[in-house]
């Protein structure tokens, strides 16, 4: 039984393949197209998933889509056609099916599942919990913005029941996005920047925040809609919101002041309060010890940490691709259940579900580039020591190994690594490599066996989805946030053998069982997918060395003119002709 799950047409489209209920492959389209948050039909991810599964289009039993276009259309029509947005005809509920039939060429059955049901299934079916309370929170799906439910894995089917929902336009996700926009960051991209900014501020605007959102009975809450404008689609907030805070909206790239930090902090505090309160309600309603979460708001790792520490649940599973991309997992799981009566999934040991490149292919690529790379094939220990040499010297290493991660976090397959003890590393990474805002913290990858020695963490956190306090005897300035917290990934040799071996080698050399791990990308770009992407990143950033599977490339080996050549090459690729199956060179197709 081959079921393909799809998320598409809002942001972060993705595809996965479930074979006989087991997750075989999953990938976001942006990793192929190189268009960040690419919302289009995930054509490349789809083809790759089939290739990974060794099947063709005739072997797919069902395609499962992550939301109900007809219900979504109802909500869109209720809200009215946004000013300057698509006309009513463009909000075509037949669009997704047509895209699947015509764009992917699929002839078989297509099943559609509600957006939040897909989120819930994506968490519960891959949690490994026999039963659990379910909480999904995001901007909006069809009508629901938050759902409460329970999952029971004992019976037939998915065993998921969603018993309550908060409906649009009342939405914690949209609240967070609105403040993200007010603080001068991009909606659907900058929310985690706001979360990172919050610890620098004081909660001076709690009263104002509580005027924006108020908790209601049971699972309900309400937004004061006077402050929001997203219904009309022009912008997220109305004029009343800047008046409430007494400050104009921050312009993109403008200076971040104490005011902005305080607003971010106040927002984070109120979000955590509401989520904690609703988690308690959910626990009271279900009486279950375990909680599964998904939806974009479940990527708020600070709130997740508080729910686990201060909330009533014993265990928390947040689906690692908790945003819309990961909802394709849930849709596929629901389809499998519907077709077979069986609960699919099982615990998710890792998210290395994307493409990988064999070392011999990389050798061919490097030969074509003429780069003098060091070849460590069949010499893994030597490779790791060479990498540790560089990390210990304070260098930033691009680490490309194994299958690409699914979800927004780099977890040791496409990561930038550095020494967390280096006091200058955070600034260096932000300035030269990531080219991003200086305030944003970096996360550590720590050996699971040593995690408790350095963090207030008593359970594995393999997906970097919660924060905790740093308790380490070591000084770890590169990964410790201003409030003393960190967002660790615990690394086990079972899930990530070579990555764990690298950190172990670093521990042996330095006594420090962790590394800075930040996603392997530069500002504005998706995480690298292929070795070619990694070489482009190497050439256009300040990365000191790059590991491509068994090969090590030092910056000195890279042609000096790459930094000069790449921008023109890549900018032109983006100007309407980004990579993909339809790729044709814009430079040739100057319309001259």
């Amino acid at each position: 039984m081959n079921v393909v799950g799809l998320s598409a047409f809002f942001h972060e489209s993705a595809c996965c393949l479930l074979r006989d209920g087991r997750l075989v492959a999953a990938a976001e389209e942006e990793r192929f197209s190189r268009v960040k948050h690419d919302p289009r039909l995930p054509v490349s991810a789809f083809r790759w998933c089939l290739r990974r599964g060794g099947i063709g289009i005739m072997d797919i039993d069902c395609v499962a889509y992550y939301e109900s276009p007809a219900k979504k259309r109802e909500r869109q029509m209720w809200a009215g056609v946004p000013e300057g947005g698509p006309t009513a005809l463009a909000l075509d509920p037949g669009g997704p099916e047509r895209a699947i039939r015509e764009g992917l060429g699929f002839e078989g059955p297509i099943l559609f599942f509600d957006h939040h049901l897909s989120h819930a299934a994506s968490a519960f079916c891959f949690s490994g919990f026999p039963e659990a309370a379910l909480l999904t929170v995001d901007g909006v799906g069809e009508w629901a913005t938050t759902t409460y439910g329970r999952g029971d894995g004992q019976g037939n089917g998915s065993g998921i029941e969603l018993f309550e929902e908060v409906r649009f336009p009342h939405s914690l996700g949209l609240l967070y996005s609105t403040l993200t926009a007010y603080l001068g960051f991009e909606v659907n991209d900058g929310e985690y920047k706001v979360m990172g900014l919050a610890p620098y501020g004081e909660p001076r605007y709690l009263d104002e925040m509580r005027r924006l959102v108020s908790s209601g009975p049971e699972g309900q809450y309400r937004l004061s809609l006077d402050y929001f404008d997203f219904l009309r689609g022009r912008r997220m907030y109305s004029d009343a919101l800047p008046q409430l805070f007494g400050q104009p909206p921050r312009q993109r790239e403008a200076e971040i002041t104490q005011f902005h930090q305080d607003v971010a902090r106040s927002l984070q505090v109120v979000l955590e309060e509401i989520l904690l309160e609703k988690a308690r309600y959910l626990h009271q309603r279900t009486g279950l010890p375990d909680l599964c979460m998904a939806g974009g708001v479940a990527l708020n790792v600070v709130a997740n940490g508080r729910i686990l520490r201060e909330g009533p649940f014993e265990r928390l599973f947040v689906q690692p691709a908790a945003g819309d991309s990961g909802a394709c997992l849930g849709a596929a799981a629901l389809a499998h259940s519907q077709l077979t009566g069986q609960r699919p999934g099982g615990p998710l040991p890792h998210v290395y579900l994307g493409p990988r490149w064999p070392p011999d292919e990389i050798a061919g690529l490097l030969a074509a580039t003429g780069i003098a790379a060091q070849d460590f094939r069949e010499r893994e220990a030597d490779l790791l020591e060479a990498v540790v040499d560089r990390l210990a010297e304070g260098k930033v290493v691009g680490w490309f190994h194994g299958a690409l991660e699914f979800g927004p976090r780099a977890l040791g397959a496409r990561s930038l690594l550095a020494d967390p003890r280096d006091p200058g590393m955070r600034d260096r990474l932000n300035r030269l490599v990531k080219k991003r805002e200086a305030f944003r913290p970096f996360a550590p990858s720590v050996l699971a066996a040593h995690a408790a020695e350095h963090f207030d963490l008593d359970h594995p956190s393999p997906f970097m989805l919660e924060t905790c306090q740093v308790t380490s005897p070591l000084d770890l300035p590169a990964i410790t946030h201003v409030d003393g917290s960190a967002r660790p990934q615990t690394v086990s040799p079972v899930a990530a053998p070579r990555y764990a071996a690298l950190i172990e080698a670093f521990r042996r050399r330095t006594g420090c069982p962790m590394l800075v791990n930040t996603s392997f990308n530069v500002r504005g770009e998706p995480i690298v997918g292929s070795p070619v992407d990694a070489l482009f990143s190497l050439g256009s950033s300040g990365i000191d060395a790059l590991v491509l599977e068994d090969f090590l490339i030092d910056r000195e080996a890279v042609p000096a003119n790459w930094a000069e050549l790449f921008p023109a090459w890549r900018e032109r690729a983006r100007s309407g002709f980004s990579r993909g199956r339809s790729a044709v060179s814009e430079d040739l197709y100057t319309f001259v």
């Binding site: 006309t87 005809l89 075509d92 003429g370 921008p567 090459w569 339809s582």
Partner: protein, 652 residues
């Protein structure tokens, strides 16, 4: 008065003097003249000519080594005195009407005395992107549906023509107004295009009844007769094709042009080729053509000249006078519209004569001197012509001769370009973008530096070009075949695991697809499948000697209308020889075919799928397209012969 940027030249000061400065050119070239600083005019002389236009005006493939503006300046100085003329080059590749008008307006800050406009080749989808069944907006699709439903294809042609005329006339009226206000004369150069050596093999839209099957049968007959040099017989076949396609299919016109050429009638050949250019306009067809000025563009330019008193220089007449033929080709054109050195020289001489007349100064026309250009730059431009031709030209007959012509011409200009040719092949064969390759690094350090305009960037294997380069190199005694085979096999040889030949590198003619599948439209998703609008689709199969190859296609024959069936046999050919086939329907089917090593060449092979013609009633198919467009859904107006999900080739 606040100074404004002129195109990409920003207001600045140098030593207290207000000037305009452009950013440094990008390392692989950009779309603008390489002149760093523009200065306001300080004295009456030299007279300043502001030179505007599209890539032809920018000297595409020759720039920055040589540009028409510089040639014009040297001609003006030779005829009218060294210190009396200067030309300011504000031409821009990819120029559009709105930015042209803005550049002309802002250029008044540097006080030109004469304006020269060389425009009209770009007046295609750059100007009328909404006149298309793939238009990005719902409203545009509905407008297109109305035109198609009420008047058929003629309606869509009218729609696009009206939109273009309105836009172009508005821009030219604006230029006329501002030039008139400051009493600057305007010279309008009406472009000529390559008629003899550029072709647009595009299929017809759905035709009533079984018109599609009949048209393609006639096409096959016409090409057979042309191959046998039976020009009269071919002409008869094309007349029947015309009856079916109503004179709106570019390929039919091209066949007729070839017939007339073969019959020794260049006048009729030119007429047919001009009709081909008009028929290939983007707005009516769904394929990426080449930018060339149409009859409508010519009429708009001449009309503006009459209205505003512009001074026209008609390159059609100039070139015909120069060559004695109304059917210009490779002597004057590097590709579809870009000029050779001779073409630039002749065109600019005509412009110079007009400017000299306008200047009121005494002058004497000297014999035309060949513009100075290094052999390396000339060779590089010609190699660029070969690359453009390889990528963009779809011929009704063999393509190799014109490719080999340009490759050979490059070698003739400068034999040292051999290494650049081999570097280009190496970059094409590499499993990464050319910019990452060692070949690129060598080329950058060579005197034959290929810029982006020379087609350096390309994501496909470039099979035809590789074969042409190999042929000319070997004719020169350079045994390139072994090296090329080694490169191909290193990165592209089919393996036991299998290679999907529908992946982009392996498309033999990447442009032999529908426009939105070649170049992304704003709101159209890509397709996961390969769709063929032509009866034959070809793919590159690379293999070593001595092994059989198994080919496993997953394909279908799309029906024109929902719920309709379709059935037929797809034949498979290797290097032109049939090797087998499979039965197919409107639903996916998978089959497998063994190709013995005896049918394969070591290295590059051409694997072709030959599709049965669609048999649906074209009228109903077009009506279905109208209904989709009315709903705001993009629609194909052309039949799809076949669709491939995957074409796996693996060693046996």
């Amino acid at each position: 008065m606040k100074r404004e940027p002129i195109s990409i030249w920003q207001p600045a000061e140098i030593d207290g003097e207000p000037v305009f400065v452009r950013p440094d050119p990008l390392p692989l070239g950009d779309h603008y003249a390489a002149v760093k600083v523009l200065r306001p005019k300080k004295a009456e002389l030299p007279l300043r000519v502001g030179f505007f236009g599209e890539s032809v005006a920018a000297g595409y493939l020759y720039a920055p080594h040589l540009t028409p503006a510089r040639v014009l300046e040297s001609q003006l100085r030779a005829a009218g005195g060294d210190g009396n003329f200067e030309v300011v080059d504000l031409a821009r590749t990819n120029e559009t009407l709105s930015s042209l008008a803005e550049t002309v307006r802002t250029s008044l800050q540097i006080n030109p005395d004469v304006l020269v406009l060389l425009i009209g080749n770009n007046w295609n989808l750059l100007e009328t992107p909404e006149a298309s069944p793939y238009a990005p907006s719902v409203e545009a699709r509905q407008r297109y549906a109305r035109a198609l439903g009420e008047e058929g294809i003629a309606g869509t042609v009218r729609l696009a023509a009206e939109e273009l005329r309105a836009k172009a006339e508005a821009a030219l009226d604006f230029i006329g107004l501002i030039a008139g206000a400051v009493q600057i004369p305007v010279v309008v150069v009406v472009p000529e295009v390559n008629l003899a050596d550029w072709e647009d093999r595009q299929p017809p839209v759905w035709l009533p009844g079984d018109g599609i099957a009949r048209w393609h049968a006639l096409y096959a007959e016409a090409t057979r007769r042309l191959d046998r040099q039976d020009f009269d017989g071919a002409l008869v076949a094309t007349a029947s094709m015309h009856e079916l396609d109503g004179g709106r299919c570019a390929a039919t016109w091209r066949l007729r042009a070839r017939c007339f050429e073969g019959l020794g009638d260049p006048g009729q050949a030119a007429g047919a080729a001009r009709s081909e250019v008009d028929a290939a306009a983007y707005s009516t067809l769904a394929f990426l053509g080449a930018p060339r000025a149409t009859t409508a563009a010519r009429e708009i330019l001449l009309g503006a000249a009459r209205r505003h008193g512009f001074f026209p220089v008609d390159l059609r007449e100039v070139f015909a006078g120069h060559t004695g033929s109304p059917f210009p080709g490779r002597r004057l054109f590097l590709d579809y519209c870009h000029l050779t050195l001779e073409g630039i020289q002749v065109a600019m001489a005509a412009v110079a004569a007009e400017v000299l007349n306008l200047s009121g100064m005494p002058f004497s026309i000297p014999a035309l001197a060949t513009p100075a250009i290094s052999p390396e730059a000339e060779a590089t431009a010609r190699l660029g012509a070969a690359v453009h031709t390889a990528h963009r030209l779809l011929t009704v007959g063999a393509k190799r001769p014109i490719l080999e012509h340009w490759c050979q011409a490059a070698l003739d200009a400068s034999p040292g370009i051999e290494e650049a040719m081999l570097d280009l092949i190496e970059a094409r064969c590499a499993p990464c973008p050319a910019v990452l390759t060692a070949a690129q690094q060598r080329n950058l350090a060579s005197p034959y530096r290929l810029l982006l305009q020379h087609g350096w960037r390309w994501d496909h294997l470039d099979a035809e070009l590789i074969e042409a380069l190999q042929a000319v190199l070997e004719r020169r005694g350079r045994p390139a075949g072994e090296r090329i085979a080694r490169l191909l096999l290193a990165h592209h040889a089919v393996s036991m695991e299998g290679t999907d030949l529908t992946e982009p590198p392996y498309l033999w003619e990447p442009l032999e697809r529908f426009y939105p599948e070649v170049m992304r439209f704003a709101d159209l998703s890509e397709r996961a499948t390969f769709r063929s609008p032509w009866p034959e689709s070809s793919f590159c199969l690379v293999c070593a000697a001595g092994r059989d190859v198994e080919v496993e296609p997953t394909l279908r024959l799309p029906a024109a209308l929902p719920g309709e069936g379709r059935r037929g046999r797809v034949r498979i050919a290797v290097n032109g020889e049939e090797a087998g086939g499979m039965d197919a329907t409107e639903r996916w089917s998978r089959s497998s075919l063994l190709i013995p090593t005896s049918s394969l060449k070591p290295g590059l092979n051409r694997l072709s799928l030959r599709w049965p013609a669609p048999e649906a009633d074209g009228r109903a198919a077009l009506q279905a397209a109208v209904e989709r467009l009315e709903l705001g859904i993009a629609a194909d107006l052309h039949p799809v012969f076949g669709e491939v999900f995957s074409l796996i080739a693996r060693l046996r």
